[in-house]
């Protein structure tokens, strides 16, 4: 019996150790590697509460181990009738008061932070010219993609959120169809995108994300929203304020007059304008509410449809069979938009060439 229990404890200790050794997870994804103040505060709470909890567990374990070691029947004797103790007021008092104190220690920062994180008053602050000082992003969650509109800047993008560093970025969150939840684990906690109302919160990012493995933070949908809930990923690129401003300007200028280079791409554009333009905008300037993701920055992304590799091969796979890769998503199969035919290899290559050329970065 005892041997078993010891074995188990040794084992869990080992797993704990293993976790610590393997670090705190990926920098672009882990809540243990916060990228900004919100995430850091949450990690602090995490550590504080873990501390308290480990303390509680240790106290329980000590009493527990002593009890089951000392009072086994084989030790105390087969026929012993122990004293039938009724209880103890003093002990009851102790184990009521001590937990209350421990909980208070956790409750105070909890309440403070709850109000802190809900403070979005900075959203409305304006400078002398009457322009908003903070960046606000309207997030619209769709089955199974994300749209990011910057209402004060007149631009819209999708799948890849771009934010400035070192300042609070505010979010207005809503869902277009069913409920989703907007979560960037490295940056901070999530907020649901409901269908019937707007939610607001903010996040901050310390540094530009280009130092990360793939140059982006990972974002996730954290509310079951249908078959492809698991694939409803997005990416976040944080840029220093200057780079961000430059990006905004390029976005505002992107679009119709975007030069298409080469014949193949030209052919791709033709197909695109015939079959795809009804749902996909290719200009970064605009407002939210389109049927499919805005593709103005498609060439700059590092994923297709949020989770597939950003390679020509995967783009072709996606276009020729979206339902297969993302069950239940709303992009039509090629037959439905190409007069009942599949795209030929050549057409796919053309489309891919064109799509890869859609870029606002140099």
């Amino acid at each position: 019996m005892m041997k078993g229990i010891k074995k188990w404890r040794l084992f869990s200790l080992l797993t704990a150790l293993m976790v610590i050794l393997s670090g705190c997870g990926e920098k672009h994804l882990s809540t243990l590697n916060p990228a900004g103040q919100v995430g850091r505060d949450q990690l602090d709470l995490m550590l504080l509460s873990t501390g308290i909890m480990v303390l509680v567990i240790i106290v329980v374990l000590i009493v527990y181990v002593l009890a089951i070691v000392k009072f086994r029947r084989s030790k105390v004797g087969e026929d012993v009738i122990p004293k039938q103790v009724e209880g103890s007021h003093k002990l009851e008092l102790i184990w009521t008061v001590v937990p209350i104190i421990l909980l208070l220690i956790l409750a105070v920062p909890t309440v403070v932070k709850t109000f802190d994180f809900a403070d979005v008053s900075g959203m409305e602050t304006v400078n002398e010219e009457g322009n908003k000082t903070a960046v606000t992003v309207n997030v619209e969650a769709n089955l199974y993609w994300w749209e990011f509109e910057y209402p004060d800047l007149g631009i819209v993008t999708s799948q890849e959120l771009v934010v400035p560093t070192q300042e609070k970025v505010y979010f207005n969150l809503i869902a277009a169809d069913v409920k989703h939840s907007f979560w960037i684990p490295a940056a901070g906690g999530k907020m649901d995108t409901n269908v019937d109302n707007l939610n607001q919160f903010y996040l901050t990012f310390d540094d530009a994300s280009d130092g990360l493995e793939e140059g982006v933070f990972y974002g996730k949908c954290a509310e079951l929203c249908g078959p492809s809930h698991a694939l409803m990923d997005f990416k976040v690129k944080s840029l220093d304020r200057d780079d961000f401003d430059a990006w905004v300007v390029k976005m505002q200028d992107s679009g119709a007059e975007q030069a298409v280079e080469g014949d193949v791409a030209q052919q791709g554009q033709d197909i695109f304008n015939k079959s795809c333009i009804t749902c996909h905008a290719v200009s970064g300037a605009g407002t939210a509410g389109s049927v499919g993701p805005n593709l103005a920055t498609f060439g700059d992304r590092n994923r297709v449809a949020g989770f597939m590799d950003h390679t020509e091969e995967d783009i072709k796979k996606w276009i020729s069979n979206p339902k297969e890769y993302k069950p239940g998503n709303l992009m039509p199969q090629p037959e439905a938009i190409n007069n009942g035919k599949k795209f030929t290899d050549q057409e796919l290559t053309a489309l891919t060439e064109y799509l890869m050329g859609l870029s606002v970065e140099d």
Partner: protein
């Protein structure tokens, strides 16, 4: 009339169980059905773990996976854990308080059959176009958008089985209030009876909101309602509130009876009275009470605003205090005792650290700003399996070993029991401990697959390997049960030797009328007191032997429940199949017809006569 003695054929036994109103037999029915659903839910869990063993796996498709998690959660909670607990309540509680049966034996049977047909109905969805797929919480926007009939099976099935549970709850409450033997004051009731009482009260108040929510969902999907359709002015958050106003008390409905079972086991196998009995009672009531004030902790990220979040955070944390009181009282119960490590006791002992670990992660979740990170991540999955499997399921397994001799007069093998324990226990920690870290590393729950190289691959594999351990443990348990039934070695009264409460004082096999004479209860742990005073019979009686009034068996509960089962199909295919409305009406006619028959035909039961009782020694039948 009375079912005295004689061997019966299979048909007769079957008919006996179909019509029985005896709480002991109904307990067995709950045990069998609940056990079956536990295995089904467990197999669904294995499918989940196989799918998630490796990244980008395609063992099951995305849609099927969502059906798996939904049915796993729903089955485990509504069709396995709760009915199994109701089974133990039925088996033990009336004996513990010295009653001949529950207050309403007929309704007791009705409650079971409603649950049974509701559960069957829900599971038929697998074969009739697909199971529900919006999670066991079935949040409104997704549930309304879900194609096919899955969600309709969910609402109708849970409505039917929910009525059964509600009836069961009221029945237990009345039994405890009115049918306690003389001398069994409230403050002498064994803790399992107390937890049954509080859990039943929670059922009484928690199931109505669920019922209302299910009705809303049903009319929205099937009859043109607009409660959750925001384009028509509806509001999806109403569903979330109704669901969790039910849902949070529900988790205490599950854990409190398990606490009760453990309390009995700790006292018995430490040969020591429960430490701080009155504090334990008070803590039980307090947990039940607080359980109704904290539901919004499941909704921290919904956007209820900081005031609501702060209030619900602090209220939730408060529950740690009464729960802690219980943990420490158990520790002090075994402290200074004489601990015998039977399988039941091993489960109880293993429960303490496991549940504490699960409870404290609950407190972490209760901190709203921290929950913003943890919500809907695997951290939550780890939390609730620690409390549910580490609390409720260990409680059920402990109870199974502990009460098996009471229910069947045989004993499960202790050796095989230890095998089950170690396989299950180690497998359990392997599966779920690591999931805390998966959550912290950013893995959302309810994902049918995950991309490689996000730092989750190894942890998921470990988790899946652990699940195999649990499955092996359960398999050994099944073997153990079959072996015990086949061997059929009778063990007699008070088989543990250290029984303290009234149920162990009854002769074995328990006579169908339980007590020939109503016992007189002389204190807490009355059987222990009698034994200590050298009373061989184990009971003091409050009345002379006299005629015993017993209720008649009845097939009507099956008919009533079956009618609703039929009607549910009609409702489901309403507007789609020409036969739908007639079937709906047919079902309702069956149900109401049976109810009218029941109320028009007086059923006064029968009497077991004094002379027959005197003949029978010990009460064989």
């Amino acid at each position: 009339m009375s079912s005295i003695a004689q061997k019966k054929g299979f048909g007769a036994t079957l008919w006996d169980y179909l019509t029985t109103v005896d709480h002991k037999k109904i307990a067995i029915l709950y045990l069998i059905t609940g056990g079956l659903f536990f295995v089904i839910g467990g197999i669904e869990a294995m499918v989940i773990r196989i799918q998630l063993a490796q990244p980008d796996s395609d063992f099951v498709s995305a849609g099927l996976f969502n059906q798996m998690i939904t049915m796993h959660g729903t089955t485990m909670i509504f069709l396995a854990a709760m009915p199994l607990l109701l089974g133990f309540m039925n088996a033990v509680m009336p004996l513990q308080i010295g009653a001949r049966d529950v207050a309403f034996p007929f309704l007791n049977s009705l409650g079971f059959w409603l649950f049974f047909f509701g559960g069957i109905f829900l599971n038929l969805s697998w074969f009739m176009g697909g199971a529900p797929d919006a999670g066991w919480t079935s949040y409104a926007s997704l549930a309304l958008a879900s194609p096919g009939h899955g969600i309709d099976f969910y609402t109708l099935g849970l409505l039917i089985s929910g009525f059964g549970t509600l009836i069961g709850g009221i029945n237990f409450l009345v039994t405890i209030i009115n049918m306690r033997a003389p001398g069994m004051t409230y403050m002498r009731m064994p803790l399992f009876t107390w937890t049954t009482f509080v859990a039943s009260a929670l059922i009484l108040f928690a199931f109505p909101p669920l019922t209302v929510g299910m009705v809303f969902m049903m009319v929205d999907r099937m009859f043109d309602g607009n409660f959750f359709d925001h384009t028509m002015g509806g509001n999806t958050i109403i569903w979330e509130h109704l669901f969790w106003i039910f849902g949070h008390p529900e988790v205490y409905i599950l854990i409190l009876p398990a606490f009760g079972i453990f309390s009995e086991i700790f006292a018995t196998f430490s040969r020591k009275r429960l430490f701080g009995y009155s504090a334990m009672v008070f803590a039980t009531v307090l947990i039940g009470f607080l359980g109704f004030m904290v539901w919004a902790h499941h909704m921290f990220t919904v956007g209820l605003g900081p005031t609501a979040n702060a209030i619900f955070s602090v209220a939730t944390m408060a529950i740690a205090v009464p729960t802690g009181v219980k943990i420490f009282n158990w520790l002090l119960t075994i402290w200074g005792g004489s601990i015998k490590f039977t399988v039941a006791m091993i489960y109880a002992v293993a429960f303490i650290p496991t549940f504490t670990a699960g409870g404290v992660t609950g407190i972490m979740l209760a901190s709203a700003p921290l929950d913003y990170q943890l919500h809907d991540s695997y951290f939550v999955v780890a939390h609730f399996h620690y409390v549910i499997v580490g609390g409720v399921v260990l409680g059920l397994l402990a109870g199974l070993h502990y009460y098996w001799p009471l229910m069947f007069n045989t004993m499960l093998s202790e050796a095989l029991g230890k095998w089950t324990f170690w396989l299950f226990f180690i497998g359990f920690h392997l599966t779920f401990f690591i999931q805390h870290f998966l959550g912290l590393l950013g893995m959302p729950r309810r994902v049918f697959t995950f991309g490689a190289n996000q730092g989750w691959d190894l942890y998921n594999l470990i988790s899946s390997i652990g699940a195999i351990g649990m499955a092996l443990g359960v398999a050994v348990l099944v073997v153990n049960i079959i072996r015990t039934i086949v061997k059929n070695e009778k063990v007699g009264r008070d088989p543990w030797g250290d029984g303290r409460t009234l149920e162990w004082a009854v002769p074995q096999p328990v006579p169908f009328y339980n007590f020939k004479q109503t016992p007189l209860v002389r204190g807490l742990d009355t059987f222990w007191i009698e034994k200590q005073e050298g009373n061989k019979e184990g009971m003091t009686y409050a009345e002379p032997v006299g005629d015993i009034h017993m209720p008649n068996n009845s097939f009507i509960p099956v008919v009533i429940s079956f009618g609703l089962f039929v009607a549910a199909f009609g409702a489901l295919y309403n507007g789609e199949q020409p036969w739908a409305v007639p079937v709906l009406i047919l079902g309702l006619v069956i149900t109401f017809g049976a109810m009218i028959v029941r109320s028009l035909k007086d059923d006064h039961g029968y009497h077991v006569h004094k002379e027959d009782l005197m003949d029978e020694k010990g009460g064989k039948h």
